[in-house]
Symmetry: C2
Subunit: 234 residues, 2 copies
DNA sequence: CGACTTGTTGATGTACATCAAGGTACGTGG
DNA sequence: CCACGTACCTTGATGTACATCAACAAGTCG
């Protein structure tokens, strides 16, 4: 874990505390539901490996992805603070999770201010990303939204180590992009084809190649600029 | 402040700490910009009185409201954690703010775990609300979205003490609703007129009367259910 | 091998945006 | 007090970016 570049360095004191706080690791199969809407959870998780989505299913089948979740992200905080999930978390790939006991969350704040601070940092950062999604879905065209998502995924894949120079593999379908950005699959596909035709990128069966990053950035706009500060440990 | 029902009870220790942490109060005129996009801020605020919006202005004039902000809400956390605002905060009404020094944020976590915990709670709750907005804007019809906002505002006005039984005054225009829910003003107005015609509500110049709350709730769906837990002090 | 998932494409439909015009309240200066 | 501007709301006509429907192609999997 220490070797993973997406975590910040942490002190020995923090390390020993985290070791005590942690109750084990779990493996989850791709496609499984990690946390489910409407339920509570006795555990908190941080992602050690694998990708997930936080997703809201409406009763009539409509589906909105709230955000992707990557290694280093924290899962289940809402269930802990509000006694109930308001969305589900579903594994996109096989995952490895670090598990904590929920009742000890309060203990964490008392014993380790720095880790408490990190938690606030994570929650605030997640909120920042959701505000970006909201701006995109609310006020930007399909082309802008999709360029934004592509760059977002590219950035994340790079950090996670899935990406080569300009090409990367992702466990994401076009339907996922559509459900994140409030579009239909069909329209998403058409925009993607158009972008392909314009020489911006290639998307073939979960492999994406960026052909013209500058042009994509222009379309995506300043909101896509990475605010990728060093991420806290937890 | 203690008398305001939207804050939780707090201990004497917390009280004295907060008194020390606080550097003063500020009054802000309605319409003023409290925090501006792209800038940093040397201060953090909690809202003692008045309403605001957190809003993103795109270069071509498009405008997305990220959320409303009410008494008890915390402003400027993002600027503190990420050294830069990614949206502006604009006062809708005259406001009274409680001001803190940003460098002392870290001190807060060290001295008072309970207040640190509250901060995480607030950040997580804001994230929860943004996820609701995202689901609405991404996957629900104009009518659903607007019913959702009406009930949201009604709930907030009640807590803030602006609302009578079924009628309330708000410092919000139809344009604000449109910009929150990713709609045009014109279409928002048409839906509102239709709702009026259907006997659901009346909206006349910043005064709203709920005529049929059950029907509105049905349209708004379960997402509008208030998750209104007791709010922490800070 | 069929069943299923994912991607692709064209035809058609519609929920929304945009444009244009006017109406009502309220403020402000003469 | 009136003339004027301005902010907000209202309504109809027109346009379009998107959704929906339908069909098929190409993997992939048990």
């Amino acid at each position: 874990m220490r070797s993973n570049a997406s975590f910040r360095a942490f002190s020995d004191a923090e390390l020993s505390f985290v070791q005590g706080f942690k109750t084990g690791e779990v493996d989850v199969k791709g496609g499984a539901t990690v946390l489910s809407d409407g339920h509570d959870s006795a555990h908190l998780f941080t992602i050690l490996d694998g990708w997930a989505v936080r997703v809201k299913h409406l009763d009539d089948g409509r589906r909105q992805i709230i955000n992707f979740a990557f290694p280093g992200d924290f899962l289940g905080l809402q269930a802990s603070l509000f006694d109930r999930m308001e969305h589900s978390v579903e594994a996109l790939t096989d995952m490895r999770l670090c598990m904590f006991e929920r009742p000890r969350l309060w203990e964490l704040f008392q014993s380790s201010p720095s880790l408490g601070f990190d938690l606030t940092w994570l929650a605030s950062r997640e909120e920042l990303i959701l505000s970006h999604h909201l701006v995109n879905v609310g006020r930007r065209t399909a082309r802008e939204r999709i360029a934004y998502v592509i760059l977002l995924l590219f950035e994340r894949a790079r950090v996670t180590g899935l990406a080569a120079e300009k090409a990367f593999e992702i466990p994401i379908t076009q339907e996922d992009v559509a459900d994140l950005m409030g579009l239909s699959v069909v329209h998403t596909n058409k925009v993607l084809r158009q972008m392909h035709h314009d020489g911006l990128l290639t998307w073939t069966r979960s492999k994406i190649i960026i052909k013209n990053q500058d042009a994509l950035s222009d379309i995506a706009g300043p909101i896509a600029e990475s605010r990728d500060v060093l991420r806290p440990f937890i």
